[in-house]
Symmetry: D2
Subunit: 350 residues, 4 copies
């Protein structure tokens, strides 16, 4: 059994270490992927910071990370449909396959889900072993760092395409990487206007680069009034995408939505959200969806198609490229909030 | 111009009077209906009681009432598609016809809606004039008192059929008349089980009469645990219909819903509703809809078809039949909460 | 390795033999089911008759049959989610799991599908081995002969529930067992009227027993005119279900359909079908779906729920109950066309 | 009553005349529009040529034409929502407003529809009177000749957006103006590839200008094999749009479609279409829709939004701009098949 380098959450507390660990073993239905690029997700930062959620969920020691791409170098004996040499990214939710939801095409809401880099060893390493079923073959025309961010792109695709977009005015609340990707996806899918809202001007700039027609900062702008005026003929925007995790954003987005509009909610809230359901949900006849993960694997096919066809260019979002061992620089940058995607490259892969 | 008797909200304050008023005039696009039966809605009770909502919305003097049926006795000169002698009920929302929502098949969420018996003279009278477009021809095989409650039945139909029902387990929170009607509609549409929840045992009895497989009273039963156990294979019920107006019901219904389930919300809440959006909406991937009014006129066609075909029997719900001038008895009964539908018959119509 | 009795398609030509064969071996991901009841499908009759389709597709020797129920008596070592003693029926389409369709929740249209009793050994035997993933646990409240016909019931459920049914008028063309089951499912799902059409009066009787409001025989009745008159207010029926395999039925059903109606086509045609697409598909704005198999496994869950809840009673359809070794009697009955479902019971299982 | 010039189908037979006629009167619910641009539709050419369809449907004398834009110069006294000075295009289908389809948001399949320039006086004139409800206000940022072709653009929008497009491979059969517009709409809505098929190379060039990734000519190319190879991973293209009116195109498009794919059929066929329903519709589980007209008015809002936002540029399609009195040149060009849209401008409007 060989050795590899990996970013390991060694023990409770701040930070992580870069050290040698065994290359993972490959089960009958697994594949081994040589990682070419891996990107840092907000949840990785939570684990790095060892926040209350991490303390309750994560069991160190564990290799961190889940957004990645790489080449298949070994396959288990029961694996079909994937072969050595394939370039892949991967769905990071490991589902049970047996519950009602998994059996009816909704495994993204599996009742017994495990997550790479959260519940089991992850991708900030030279190699990762995953169930073959989770691998998503990707065109070599897509660069490794772009292929790695297909996973968060999938969140954006899932959210944006949960309803009609073409010919619609779309408000995106929260312009971190997933929100900024949602801006790009909405434009690629024919939205006639995308309005991007964030309290961080750096992120509003990212949204602009991804095609936002207008950016608004709630600390300066009257967001609800402005959105309603922009869409006064319909009484509000057609589509509200919540990707900020802020209860105020939920309130403002619903207030700015037209009667009969769509609200797709990807944000995660650290406390209960208080809403005027009577006026902002019921009387408006709102269509609202909770969005989690990516539809398996419809979302992935769509994301890959948007990238490999050139319909969507996500490279403006990749703001930091680092050697994997320089991960501390990456995590520090992430903690400022002023980054797009931070990508880590194992030695020899960049 | 002839005279007729009507229940008039004469002035601010409790109650209403039974007095003579002019028979309404019939505009070019209107019809005059001789009322055969009219039923009391919860919102009529609000106006009768002169609660804060009424004080702010209603401008006395005004004829009350909006749920009714009767025969067309006069038609305006521009009216097509309706003729004298037709037996009709009516959509009680008068829509503008010009806004985006009206122009795209969503006039139930019209931006400029008026309501019979709330914003203009209503149906607790011997005659009512309405826009011809609002009339819904009804088979004479449907008795007048049943035809009158097609309007609240429409709320139930709209809510229940906002998603799939056949083969699903459905929880109905709130078993007032609309909730109890929803129980009946869900059973008629193939729900494999309908669980009815209310704090009022009289209403739970109504729900049972309409076909509920099980009734639960939150004052006695652990509703969330029981529902989850009944649907343990899917992690919760498939469909949650909120028809109570209670914030706790929203919390409990969402908590009892399975991942990927549907929540259709008709309730009206007198205060903001606080929900754990992260766990009960987002991570569950819930499909949630605000429901208001009836889809024009799809809902009406479906309601009428369910009644005239005999697929649905709503007569167990009609608990009180009174002469219209005895309306005070009816309103008093409604105020106890222990009624199904209370139907008023103008003289000579019963 | 033990022995069992089975109905074997021994060689090309008419008929099949009842003989001893080895009990099948159980692979890592398979289960062994002791068959309690098995029913004869129309495709079994094709194979028995050795018609052109069978000659080109089936490779004797092979155990026939695919509709069945029974108890799990052995499980492979990689099997999860199914245990010894479970009462199961089974999806008879063995899918690849790797193609785009399988990966996106549409494995019923898998690009590389194998069928039990057609492409590999089937269920007319004392035991059958199947992939565990294909097993569908069924409540013991459902009798074995009813559980066995969940598979064709699934075809009916898939077809009927491919669109809205509640409050709709539905025309079912073809009242063999699947058509008659569709009649029952449509009624259970709230159809306000179901019109059943067949040239065989025996089958029209079955449809009546399953709840048809009206039966029509094209050899006596002017089907299109009658259906249009029954639904003259909408210009035709709302839903057309084609389950006969007759090109004339497709023509008549589309002609009888209203503008904007739904056509769900399960029939299999031995020759091209010629239709006036301009008037009967395009100008009508028809929504048409090809229906094959059962959605995995949504359809199965719904079928099982309809049966175990008592919402649907399919026993009127079970017209013949035979010992499995008396299969020739069953096949002869099927060849007359005058049967509902013919169920075979292995020795000791009835 | 003033006079105006118009292209009048004076009598049966080839051609039309340019002569003076009365300016139309404006009914209570009508508006009078001063035409700024009008474009020639294929159906205008049928009427000009006096083909069998025209002979049976059209009653001369009648002003021809239906695709147009212009300014409102007079409104009937009952008109609301439109005012003098508005720049409008118009829905050309005059619907009854009273049938089931009209009452349920599907007036594009109204049971009693009349068409401008076919069943009543049309738009090849200096003025046209239309029901106010048919007018579609359009941004002045859209030039008159572009606004005029919103009506055929609406056909394309209706067809393309009848299902999902983003991330899909789309085959468009028939690249006349509507087909070429469909190419543009599909690209604007995020299709990852659009394949355009026609037997006319001039039209394939138009499709290329509108963004087609690949063009195929059935007279040179093996269309079905090529499309299947381009989409071999899914077993065929995701979406098939039929806009040619050729039965062979229906056959080829269905043959090239993947299992579970979508077929949206706008073409009009002069004879019955013979298809292998078993393999190309049923076993594939195809979702097929007949498409007629434009959804009122959802399609129009979307078309207008795509144009006024700049998401879609249709100017490459406008190949001929003529004074209205030079209509014969326009019709001759149309008869060659080698045109995009031919636009006619009344005197003083260009």
């Amino acid at each position: 059994m060989g050795k590899m380098k990996a970013i390991v959450k060694e023990q409770p507390g701040l930070g992580a270490v870069w050290r040698e660990v065994p290359i993972p073993e490959v089960g009958h239905e697994d594949i081994l992927v040589k990682v070419e690029a891996a990107s840092i997700c907000g949840s990785d930062v939570h684990i790095y910071n060892w926040d209350p959620w991490s303390q309750q969920r994560v069991k160190p020691p564990m290799i961190m990370g889940h957004e990645f791409s790489g080449q298949v170098v070994e396959i288990g004996q029961a694996v079909r449909g994937i072969k050595i040499g394939d370039f892949v990214s991967a769905e990071t939710h490991i589902v049970c396959g047996h519950c009602y939801q998994c059996r009816t095409g909704s495994s993204h809401v599996c009742q017994d889900m495990k997550i790479l880099g959260v519940d089991r060893d992850g991708a900030f390493a030279e190699y990762i072993a995953i169930p073959a079923v989770n691998a998503v073959p990707t065109s070599r025309s897509v660069p490794p760092e772009v292929a790695a961010i297909q996973e968060p792109l999938g969140n954006a695709v899932h959210t944006v395409l949960a309803g009609e977009v073409a010919g619609r005015r779309v408000a995106v609340f929260g312009c971190g990487p997933v929100g900024a990707l949602a801006v790009g996806v909405a434009k690629a899918a024919g939205a006639t206007a995308v309005y991007a809202i964030d309290i961080n001007d750096y992120r509003l700039e990212l949204a602009k680069k991804m095609g936002a027609n207008l950016t608004l900062n709630p600390q300066r702008d009257d967001v609800v009034t402005t959105l309603r005026e922009l869409a006064v003929d319909r009484g509000g925007v057609d589509v509200f995408l919540e990707m900020s995790g802020s209860p105020q954003a939920v309130q403002q987005g619903l207030a700015a939505l037209r009667n009969g509009g769509r609200a797709s909610i990807l944000g995660v809230y650290s406390r209960p959200v208080e809403i005027d359901w009577t006026n902002d949900i019921v009387f408006k006849g709102v269509q609202l969806q909770g969005i989690t993960g990516r539809r398996m694997f419809e979302t992935w096919y769509t994301a890959e198609a948007l990238l490999s066809s050139g319909a969507l260019d996500v490279t403006p979002l990749i703001t930091h490229r680092l050697a994997m061992e320089d991960y501390e620089t990456g995590f520090e940058a992430m903690r400022t909030g002023n980054t797009g995607k931070v990508v880590l490259f194992p030695r020899g892969s960049r």
